[in-house]
Amino acid sequence: MSRLTIALPKGRMFDPVVQILQKAGIVGRDLDDSSRKLVLKDEKKDIDIILSKPADVHTYVEHGVADLGVGGKDVLLEARANVAEILDLGLGACRLVVALPKDKGITSLDQLPPTGIVATKYINVAQSFFDKQGIQVETVKLNGSIELAPIIDLSDMIVDITSTGTTLRENNLIEIAEIAKSTARLIVNRVSYKTHHNRIKYIADKVDEVIKNNS
């Protein structure tokens, strides 16, 4: 059996994902995402682990430099990544929503003016959502602190992820529509899914078992 490479997202998701992989017996050693090393080897389990930024995992997987990876559905939707999405890990649950300042007095999509400016990190997701609703918008790409945009009049509304809604509330924003729900997904390179099918299927089944026992 030849070696597999898994790309894992550093940061918030890292520890819970590693825990699942360890419980499933896919990874044998301890892993630490704060190390400067970017590739970790697990000789016993015949696996290499690439530590990557969450937004880059799908790129490694799509190119096949990693066979598997863990990526957020929000990022996958935005990137339109051409990868096989084989399992919902149920982690990092959040929602992609449309929100705007409370004082505008708008509470649903059909009250929106016919044109508007949307600030977001997810310009593709936002554009295709509004296109489907028949609402014409222009998008402004921001990389962080999206909530700020409508407060300082850079945009009329925002499209962003929210899990508890706290950040939205603190900035006097209210949600008027949900675009999609997001959780972490196990993604696989489309060729690797063929060439390593049995092993990847085994991993997916093991991980699925762990998730079901956890919940």
Partner: protein, 421 residues
Amino acid sequence: MNLNKLQRPEGTKDYLPQVAIKKRYIEDSLYQTFKGWGYREIITPTFEHYDILSAGTEGLQTKIYKFFDRKGQILALRPEMTASIARAVATKLKDEPLPLRLSYQSNVFRYEKPRAGRYREFSQGGIELFGVGSPMGDAEVIAIAAKALEGSGLKNFKIDIGDVDYFTGIMREGKLDKEIQLKIRRALSQKNLVELKELLDQTDLNSKGKEAILEGQNLRGGLEVIEKAKQLVGNQESLESLINLEEVYKYLNLLGVSQYICIDLSVVRSFDYYTGIVFEGYSEDLGYTICGGGRYDRLVDKFGYSIPATGFAIGIDRLLLSLEEQNYQFPIPQNGTLVLFDRDNNAQAFSLVDKLREEGEDVEFELYNRSLDQVIDYSLVKGLNRILILGDVEGKDAYQTKVIEGQEVIEVLLEGGLKGE
């Protein structure tokens, strides 16, 4: 001209001589394979009416380069070859006896986000078989794909074959409405198993139907896969597709390529386009598929000629990339010669060079009148094999005189000793 304009447009590339020679080698090799099976080359225009090109593509409409001509007609650069060939078949070749076997090698254009292995202009080589609806037709086309990849020198490759009707049959039997069928097809094409499960849970498909679709994602292998799948489905359409696959596989076995073939029911490619067998080829050394194709019986009908059709395209750039990943030694002979001569020896030099070229050698003249040392440096960089000297050149006394093609010359061989210095 400023520096910016000296750059290539995004997504294009130059094939410099050392790569271009490999590309040419691959294209020649594919051409010979196609020709050996009776497929004759067809060349169609690089641009066509947009309506023609958009009729034939598998979801490529948004990636087509479009423009207007001076009459205001919408033209487009071809994003693939099948539509153009189908157009030619439905018009110019309509009265030709069937079956029609056609092959092509051409560049195609798609507005995509450029990445490794994905360009906006790239090359495809492939074939189309018109007028044959039988499993033997499918088998012939798949066998040629295998032989073409094998003949190009590729190792460790497989071709996975599936049949879109397996899934269509299950969905029709469950009387799913059009919209959800479309979503399920999309999830199947994208291999989005998470969404596939969610969608199936929303339908009233019975548990057997759901299992048949989900288990279809894991059925990979030889003929035993078909036996297993037959247990999963009860409807006629799915069963017929499995029997069809079985037949195709048996022919592939007889054609001597079954070691390259894997039955994989999860291969569906695009449902809007394909109508039966679909297949894709890949190697362990590349994260993308190298070739793809299948049966598309509805396409030519759109141009007013109702005949079945099946075919495939090989991505030449991806095949080249895979061969390089595998460190394939391209059997490209190096037999370059440089000829030095002085003015008194023009006539002898020209006639010698003529004879050498007739024998298939690559011969260049030295046109700069450089010293022998300089010429040797040049030849080593260029990878030439030898230098021939006629007449008087500085430094020639260190080398042996020899008679080549009846001509007395001094020969400096560049292999071995000199190359290492």
